[in-house]
């Protein structure tokens, strides 16, 4: 009996956790699949579900359940925003990894002086509120002509991803077993050679996970791209979404559909990350600080 009641409590708790986690996500997707009339009718599950809103979003008229639905007027800008972020995020991911793998390896693996100062600096730059950093950038980017360019967005994203990914990777490299590397060194590998042939292959999952984290940051960023590219042709998808704020009350379904496009990519990337995330040791770097 004791075991059974424990079981029941666990299952109820797990069920509540799933409901709590999924309801917000469900609500957006549900609204995106419905017609405005059904939404205003207070439906709690999608009635007459269709992909009409997505077709409209890309500028095409479509015949809905209650008659013809006009295509979205600013589809061109929306597509531009989507293209922009699809260019920016991969570039940010690649540059971040090129800068952070050596740095993370060095801090996590080697005995170097000034290690604590470095870690303190990384953590410090993480805790600065965005407003302290953004406004100076806003002025600087406007002055030197980087505001409203994709390169400007890439640079500003790197300023966040590089410290973050280094912080994670150094804990990860630090936690990998050292025996393999030692054996390679004894067999005559140089330090760099051992890093390349022994450490990096073993570190594969951790590197994959951090690359995904860098991508997610760039894909999800709103405030940096909004301030540095909002209203220009370089604006990202997230920055573009603010133009829905005005007419949400007439077109909640269209807005919801636009939001789900952003969310689906993030959610899919996260599900891929699951396989790797257990291999990351997040706590280690902080314990090094103390």
């Amino acid at each position: 009996m004791a075991i059974n009641s424990r079981r029941v409590v666990l299952y109820v708790a797990a069920f509540l956790i799933i409901i709590y986690t999924l309801t917000p996500i469900y609500s957006v997707f549900m609204i995106a699949l419905m017609d405005v009339k059904d939404i205003m009718g207070g439906q709690v599950y999608p009635v007459n579900p269709s992909l009409n809103q997505y077709i409209r979003l890309f500028g095409y008229d479509v015949k809905g359940h209650y008659g013809l639905l006009k295509g979205y007027g600013s589809a061109a800008q929306l597509k531009q925003g989507l293209t922009n972020i699809l260019i920016v995020s991969p570039i940010v991911t690649i540059i971040t990894m090129c800068a952070c793998i050596p740095a993370g390896y060095a801090i996590g693996r080697l005995q170097i002086r000034g290690k604590r100062a470095l870690i303190g600096m990384l953590l410090g730059s993480r805790s600065i509120p965005s407003v302290s950093v953004l406004i100076p950038y806003y002025f600087l980017f406007t002055a030197i002509g980087l505001r409203g360019t994709l390169m400007g967005i890439v640079i500003i994203h790197l300023s966040i991803t590089v410290p973050l990914v280094t912080w994670i990777l150094m804990g990860y490299f630090g936690a990998l077993p050292r025996t393999l590397e030692k054996a390679a060194r004894l067999d005559g590998c140089s330090r760099m050679g051992a890093m390349r042939t022994v450490v990096l292959p073993v570190a594969g999952p951790g590197i994959a996970a951090t690359a995904i984290i860098a991508f997610l940051f760039s894909w999800n960023d709103f405030i940096f791209s909004f301030l540095l590219s909002g209203g220009t042709s370089a604006q990202t998808y997230n920055a573009y979404l603010t133009s829905f704020f005005g007419f949400t009350s007439n077109e909640p379904a269209l807005f919801a559909a636009a939001v789900t496009i952003q969310m689906v990519v993030a959610l899919m990337v996260c599900i891929i990350l699951q396989r790797y995330i257990t291999s990351l040791n997040f706590i280690d770097p902080v314990s090094v600080v103390l």
């Binding site: 205003m40 170097i112 805790s127 509120p129 965005s130 997610l216 405030i223 979404l241 009350s249 993030a266």
Partner: protein, 288 residues
């Protein structure tokens, strides 16, 4: 072979140091300078005013209001994230069928941006198309739509959604710590007749205390600097009832072009956060 560890380390780390210095010191220095000057927004001429901008913060009723909002938000969010993180981690640390599915689901909110979370909040709380009103109407708790994002409660709603977004990080940290607690100790405690609460307090908690404190520190930093979710969910309203310090600061900069004063606020906020975090870490190291 010739290179010492420090040398090789410096070569490998150099690009990073250069980048971090460039991207964090420049704006910090620039805003520190701005905080001591007055910028004429027509001519862009600057004049040194000393601590006048900082003195102004003491007499600003809007700032006082937003400090109150921020404080409320940070406390609520930190408590919620810690409790959610602890609760969920304790459940998924157990072994039962389907636990791996629960783990997959639990992390999903983390993948969403603060911005998307705020927008999601709109689709739940809106008074004309929100899901919450639809559900409440359907089960008959209310008979007309409610305005959830009103002056009195919008901060709590925003905190709730922000915590939803942040909780997976708490779960992750605490779960990782829970897995370091040896099972043998539990069995021993059980044999000795310890109750569930005593087992948690005496066996589990010492292993996760450190992780819980990390979660508290991280949520304080995150919630203290949060601005996007306010913008996405309520835009700071109604009125200024849900405008925290960072959002107010953005308004000072980009709405009233008061660059000197805005920089002074951002420096005070930064000093406050750094003090709070240092305090936490002090407690953390002393008790360890």
């Amino acid at each position: 072979m010739v290179l010492s560890d420090t040398r090789l380390g410096l070569i490998l780390v150099f690009p990073l140091i250069a980048l971090v210095l460039l991207v964090s010191l420049y704006p910090m220095g620039y805003s520190l300078w701005l905080s001591f000057v007055d910028v004429n927004f027509l001519t862009h001429k600057t004049s040194f005013v000393g601590l006048a901008n900082y003195a102004e913060t003491l007499q600003d009723p809007f700032l006082r209001n937003s400090i109150f909002v921020s404080f409320r938000f940070v406390v609520e969010t930190t408590v919620l994230v810690t409790l959610l993180g602890l609760g969920i981690a304790l459940v998924i640390n157990e072994k039962f069928r389907g636990v791996s599915f629960v783990k997959t689901v639990v992390i999903l909110p983390w993948a969403l941006s603060e911005f998307a979370t705020g927008l999601v909040g709109r689709f739940i709380l809106d008074s004309s198309y929100g899901l919450l009103n639809a559900i409440l109407l359907r089960i008959g708790v209310i008979n007309q739509s409610l305005l959830f994002l009103n002056g009195a409660n919008s901060v709590e709603w925003i905190s709730l959604f922000y915590s939803w977004n942040l909780a997976p990080i708490g779960v992750f940290f605490i779960l990782a710590a829970l897995q370091t607690a040896p099972e043998l100790l539990y069995k021993q405690a059980k044999v000795d007749g310890a109750s569930i609460i005593a087992r948690f307090r005496l066996v589990t908690f010492p292993f996760i205390r450190y992780a819980v404190l990390i979660v508290i520190v991280l949520s304080t930093i995150q919630a203290g600097g949060a601005v996007v979710i306010f913008y996405a969910l309520t835009g700071g309203g109604p009125g200024t009832t849900s405008t925290p310090v960072p959002l107010y600061d953005f308004r000072v900069f980009l709405g009233s072009f008061n660059y000197g004063y805005g920089s002074a606020i951002s420096w005070l906020a930064l000093i406050f956060i750094v003090t709070a975090v240092t305090g936490y870490f002090y407690i953390l190291t002393r008790r360890k």
